[in-house]
Amino acid sequence: MLTINNLQASVEEKDILKGLNIEIKPGEIHAIMGPNGAGKSTLGNVLSGREGYEVTGGTVDFDGKELLEMDAEERAREGLFLAFQYPVEIPGVSNLEFLKASVDAVRAHRGEEPMNSVEFLKLAREKCKAVNLDQNFLKRGVNEGFSGGEKKRNEIMQMMLLEPKLCILDETDSGLDIDALQVVAEGVNSQRDPNRSFIVVTHYQRLLDYIVPDFVHVLADGKIVKSGGKELALELEEKGYGWIENGDV
């Protein structure tokens, strides 16, 4: 599904990723944990094609295609989805218009006809229900005035509508209380599929009680310094990131 090979990237001439390797197979959930400043968010941004990040080395193979050659929108159309840590508010553009534009673009790329608006509205309402968002949110501006939890649920709803191959959840747990976290995690778990993979980027182990990973990687100073099963997250939680940073691994 995704093979990251010796990925190096910099922001404003500062090296952030310094040779990162990960191999993700269909259906797997990989958690990436690490202290602040390790490059966790940079990884999500580089993979999703955000401008301002310069890839200085390495390759990323996404389902047989070179991911780094594509524009952000092409990556999304190919089936990559980034759930934002801080979803953006866009007043004046309704959530429904935004969702339809997005789904139409992805469908067109797959050679499918756009959905008619009645069908789409029905589908969007279903997905709203699935993530426990009131239908009124479809009429409101994109994320406009949404609470933190509502914004994250809106992200998960988008994921459900777009049916991506690979989902990157960038600190999706940040700013969520335990109830909101459970709703979001349930949404994610409902999307688990033998053909869909997940990268769960998080600072805290708590999220991984609800979205149980197959593999846990520890990112520090731009590299994966340790990989293991889900028990690695618990060990990290117990010992703290100092354990990694002090080179005691």
């Binding site: 999703s48 952000a72 999304a76 934002f84 866009i90 935004f98 997005s102 673009a105 994109v142 777009l162």
Partner: protein, 444 residues
């Protein structure tokens, strides 16, 4: 070719035009005022960022030669709007395109069609609100006005239908000036909706259009006002909007100005007595080499009045906009609440906005706020849209449209909202593929 003396030519035009007797007083005082006003240059504070050089290159001070126009209905029709309608072509009233229904308490007539009593009322009221001491073009309008719209609503009457006043400009054989006027009187507790539409045929324009609207809103009365300028980009438009607000009256205005060669709107709202409320929302969208200039003056002369003024502009290409918003709070205007917000989006390195908010406060117990922002499209928002598969071009258009759509959404008349949305979206692209989602257009 030597420069034309605009003022001198204008005086010749005024003197050679025969006008009705009931307008003699306003015509005379207008001419007198006009003669005292110099032609604005870049050194004239109110015209600092708007050059009138174009008016000295050609002689615009000649009468329009033709006001015939065929098949122009589609320019101004608003689907789903049931309104009284008065249509003027180059300032000339077109009875055959107009439709005025009878309503109790309504006087609605073109000046030249008015009966003797109505003409006397027009003569008595006209020029009382319009400010001519600083504004050359309003003085000129006073001096040259011959036809226009007279709208009067009697005490306690709430009009059932909106009043739609349409001004169509058409290209003349030679450059010319067209004049029009709108005079509104709402008596105590009367209520009316006035829609002023300015359109043109889709061709290079050579008519200098001079239009002044003045309104007196009576005690407890409410005027809902729309001013929609969507003429050809070569148009020359000089507009004035002057409103006197009496006790506890309300004025709610939506203004949309697409760009022209020069498009200038002077607004003056007077809170004269107390307790009145003014809500103004405006959008300006110049592109290519277009120019839009809005000068808005709000005079708080009495206590307990409120003003909420929101203007937003998007400047594309090499276009230029000027926004000057002044709120003047006089010593008697205690307990004033006044807000002015002006936000601007620049879509190109060569686009320009000159924005100047001015608060001048002489009362001590007031709440006032003003804010101006100038920005470019938000890169984070753009990435968000692109990360969902939306193409970069469509993302730009969604964000630009969203910026003004926030204000359009607040237009209470649904039919007008539906008319304006595609017009606005077309400003950003003619590719319907890129606007279909924001317009919910399933025909693409």
């Amino acid at each position: 070719m030597s420069a034309i003396d605009f003022n001198q030519q204008a005086v010749s035009l005024i003197n050679s035009t025969k006008k009705a007797d009931f307008l003699a007083a306003v015509n005379a005082s207008g001419l007198e005022q006009f003669k005292t006003l110099p032609f604005p240059t870049r050194k004239t504070e109110d015209w600092k960022y708007t050059s009138l050089f174009a008016l000295t290159k050609q002689d615009y001070n000649t009468p329009v030669q033709s006001s015939d126009a065929q098949g122009i209905e589609s320019l101004y029709q608003v689907a789903g709007l049931d309104a009284h309608r008065l249509v003027f072509v180059n300032g000339v009233y077109k009875a055959e395109l107009s439709k005025i229904d009878a309503e109790d308490g309504l006087t609605l007539v073109s000046f030249l069609q008015a009966n003797k009593d109505e003409q006397a009322a027009i003569g008595a009221a006209i020029g009382k609100v319009a400010e001519t001491e600083r504004n050359l073009f309003t003085a000129l309008n006073n001096a040259q006005v011959s036809d226009g719209v007279y709208l009067k609503v009697a005490k306690n009457v709430q009009l059932k239908k909106a009043v739609q006043v349409v001004h169509v400009s058409t290209t003349q054989k030679a450059a010319a000036s067209a004049f029009s006027r709108c005079l509104v009187e709402l008596e105590t507790h009367a209520q009316a909706t006035l829609i002023e539409q300015f359109v043109s045929t889709d061709e290079e324009q050579n008519v200098l259009f001079n239009q002044t609207t003045e309104a007196v809103v009576g005690d407890g009365a409410k005027l809902n006002h729309y001013r929609l300028n969507s003429e050809h980009e070569s148009s020359l438009h000089f507009g004035g909007l002057y409103v006197d607000l009496n006790r506890d009256s309300q004025f709610e205005s939506y203004q949309v100005l697409l760009g022209g060669q020069i498009k200038r709107l002077d607004v003056l709202i007077n809170h004269n007595v107390g307790g009145s409320h003014c809500d103004m929302t405006g959008v300006y969208l110049p592109k290519n080499n277009q120019h839009v200039d809005i000068h808005s003056y709000i005079e708080h002369k009495a206590a307990n009045c409120t003003t909420d003024e929101v203007y937003r502009g998007i400047m594309a290409d090499q276009s230029k906009a000027v926004f000057n918003g002044r709120i003047h709070i006089l010593p008697d205007a205690q307990k004033t609440l006044a807000k002015l917000s002006n936000k601007n989006l620049l879509l190109s390195d060569k686009a320009q906005i000159n924005s100047k908010p001015e608060l001048e406060i002489y009362a001590d117990d007031v709440q006032c706020a003003h804010g101006v922002t100038v920005a470019q499209l938000d890169e984070t928002a753009k990435f968000y849209l692109r990360s969902r598969g939306i193409g970069a071009l469509e993302a730009d258009i969604m964000l630009s449209f969203g910026f003004i759509n926030e204000l359009l959404e607040s237009i209470p008349l649904e039919a007008l909202r539906d008319k304006m949305r595609p017009l606005m979206a077309e400003q950003f692209t003619s590719n319907r593929e890129l606007t279909k989602h924001i317009l919910h257009d399933e025909t693409v």
